[in-house]
Point group: D2
Amino acid sequence: MTIRTTVWGENVHEQTNEIVRSIYPDGMHATIASAIAADPTVAVSTVTLQDPEHGLTEEKLAATDVLVWWGHQAHGEVDDAVVERVARRVFEGMGLIVLHSGHFSKIFKRLMGTPCALKWREAGERERLWVINRNHPIAAGLPEYFELENEEMYGEPFSVPEPMETVFVSWFQGGEVFRSGLCYKRGAGNVFYFRPGHETYPTYHDPNVRRVLLNAVKWAYNPAAAWIGIHDAPNVPTETAPEKIEERGPKLHAPGEAGYR
Amino acid sequence: MTIRTTVWGENVHEQTNEIVRSIYPDGMHATIASAIAADPTVAVSTVTLQDPEHGLTEEKLAATDVLVWWGHQAHGEVDDAVVERVARRVFEGMGLIVLHSGHFSKIFKRLMGTPCALKWREAGERERLWVINRNHPIAAGLPEYFELENEEMYGEPFSVPEPMETVFVSWFQGGEVFRSGLCYKRGAGNVFYFRPGHETYPTYHDPNVRRVLLNAVKWAYNPAAAWIGIHDAPNVPTETAPEKIEERGPKLHAPGEAGYR
Amino acid sequence: MTIRTTVWGENVHEQTNEIVRSIYPDGMHATIASAIAADPTVAVSTVTLQDPEHGLTEEKLAATDVLVWWGHQAHGEVDDAVVERVARRVFEGMGLIVLHSGHFSKIFKRLMGTPCALKWREAGERERLWVINRNHPIAAGLPEYFELENEEMYGEPFSVPEPMETVFVSWFQGGEVFRSGLCYKRGAGNVFYFRPGHETYPTYHDPNVRRVLLNAVKWAYNPAAAWIGIHDAPNVPTETAPEKIEERGPKLHAPGEAGYR
Amino acid sequence: MTIRTTVWGENVHEQTNEIVRSIYPDGMHATIASAIAADPTVAVSTVTLQDPEHGLTEEKLAATDVLVWWGHQAHGEVDDAVVERVARRVFEGMGLIVLHSGHFSKIFKRLMGTPCALKWREAGERERLWVINRNHPIAAGLPEYFELENEEMYGEPFSVPEPMETVFVSWFQGGEVFRSGLCYKRGAGNVFYFRPGHETYPTYHDPNVRRVLLNAVKWAYNPAAAWIGIHDAPNVPTETAPEKIEERGPKLHAPGEAGYR
């Protein structure tokens, strides 16, 4: 078993902002990927917004078990058709890890079905992430809490659906709280949102954050074969019903006709 | 308190199909509305696909507490901008009841974030809806189960997110099952999906179905003032943080600048 | 409609501790009850641990729509039979509001099925409760957050099942966080856990806390008739099955025999 | 990695009923265990009600990663202290698979916190289990549905809390439905309820049922170290708070004193 993981990076601030470049000289996606590559069961590659089709071709997605997403400034530049393609692969079983400012990415909003809005403040304050679900696979190897001395604040309310499980809740020095690790399932795909990762701080160099990245990839991995049929609404002809029945009453559809979409 | 309810009808098959017209001479929306209008606390109106902006103008939605949706053949003709407008009102607190073939409506797929696909068969078979959540408000006044002698079959898997609560599960004569009454919350809005209602059968004349329609409207009603701010991601300036802090470290944003979307 | 509410008070520290008595001279239950009594749709009474059967006789519970519970020092003195009686009424539809140290009450542990443990510190520190579910009925009329200048700290992990909905998350001055308002359903009964209320501070005199108490009672109220049958496992004789079937194969039970429990 | 699995069998009807003995000559627990033993990553043993401490000593539970439970006639004979011991191990991370009539076992009711009641009929009718969560690990390798030609009927409402995930829903020939595969989490422990398995039918010899048993054990396995501390409510002294604070206001507890339980 190898978990084929693709890290998607927006790769804009790394090119345009001195601070970000100094922290992530090879791009944030490279640093994120290196955290995941630490494990022998994972094979990691990176793609960026600037690649053709943002690097997310049909072929690439078909060969991806888990996709990790970091974007911020250029959410609007991601092609809608690519977003829909990614969503389809999630429904079929690809895992998705959405990081930090990715809360406003098209793909996250597409899958949540809600605004995904929140409060924010860029003051370099202390964030303390509490593990509230201690034996969850995503918390493996973590202490009861860990701190990031400088982070952007994200504050509640975070307008997402009530999650399947909550793994982390953050405390901020300035007085706010945030549900920082949220698990969802969309079709056959496991989705995890992880809060930390503002680009002007060295968050993705932090050992605990890196452990979460790897844990999350492993958790999100669904070894089942892709659920290709999830997009279809198949007609079950009367003669193949599990129980023998006879047709009755008026009909709208001719035999073999597809349903309306 | 009056629950201002708007019933949205696609109103296509009623115009083009003799069978449907004979069962619903005034349109399905009219029959659905009459079930809800039975209660003195509800004020009902109807709009249709053919109305300007499909009847769902900003003004109409602002004056709607609960929206009931029946569509089938013409999902694709609903304007994307109107869909987004409806979604925003749901996030702010408008209730939404989605009926039967509305599982494939743009608005339901928008809010679920999943394919919302299912199996189907049009054989006029018997459906039996079991109340699995007996004291749920949507089940008020119902027996332990009720039957529809002729209905279209919808079969699992129904590719929607795991619901907040399941109220009904259906048994079909041909051998399938279906989760027929599902509760969700999206932002401040309560969303209920209710399965029955194929247009070639007199389902919306059935007393139990009509009771569910009214119960669902009452359940979905959120008396709180609209949560207008749910779409925003406000910056909290350092000087207004709940706890006094000092800014530290490098910044991406200039003071007062909006976040990226 | 009148919501018949019973406030249960342990009433021990009010009798034995000077500080508690000075804050709650008539007992904490009296102060809690006065918050709820403010609404014309609610009729409130109080009972205490010291009453015969702790005030929770069959008759009293049958006449109670919502029960509010505050206990701390004397959890172990609550009779197991009374706990089971209360649990049965919750399953049948009585609402239950569990306050603060009630997290370790027998009735809360009985309904959660988990340890319900947490961290704590009695340092009179500041607690800030964030409303993360803004238009939830329990948050009606509240600001985006409210503060209690002196409270006991409760810290995560709080070992309860993942809730149906989370309404509040608390920030503590000493650095911890806590999910402070959690909604559950047990049978037909709505259950709400609300964190604040350490007896050496005047928490139940706080206007926002008092508003939550009243809101919670209204939310927990289930107007449906008691679901008496929820405790039973009725046999459905073959001749009364919804669909006509014939018995086949070997049987364990004689006709009319009850199942094993 | 080896998943140490213990199958607990009541082992009463196998001794007292000719039909049951003829189907399960070595006991139902032996047949159940043989389904799980098929996998090289699992090590299986069996214990029964008749063993000292029902075979569930502290040592045995400490060496058990997943416990499988089948009981029916003798639920009342299971010692309360053993039930509590099992519950504690579940909270610490042991997986638990509860089968069929185990819905009324003390351990399942203890963990659910609800009556766990349902309808039933012993008529040897056909059950069809629909996989509604196709790529869930517990459904690995299954067709879209599978049938048991002769089973006892269990009908809704099943008075359990809304599950974290629903994997199977059953159709019964006599007209009922049932949520037949339900996932829960209690503390660090994964809990799965699986409906089929009436003792007068050869259900645990069915290949699909056997596949579910093995899949469920693998799903329930939590490789994390036991969460021993989940039962405790530790005091966090002011001087060790994550953020420096000073004690204020009146106190109930002396330094170092344990909290009330």
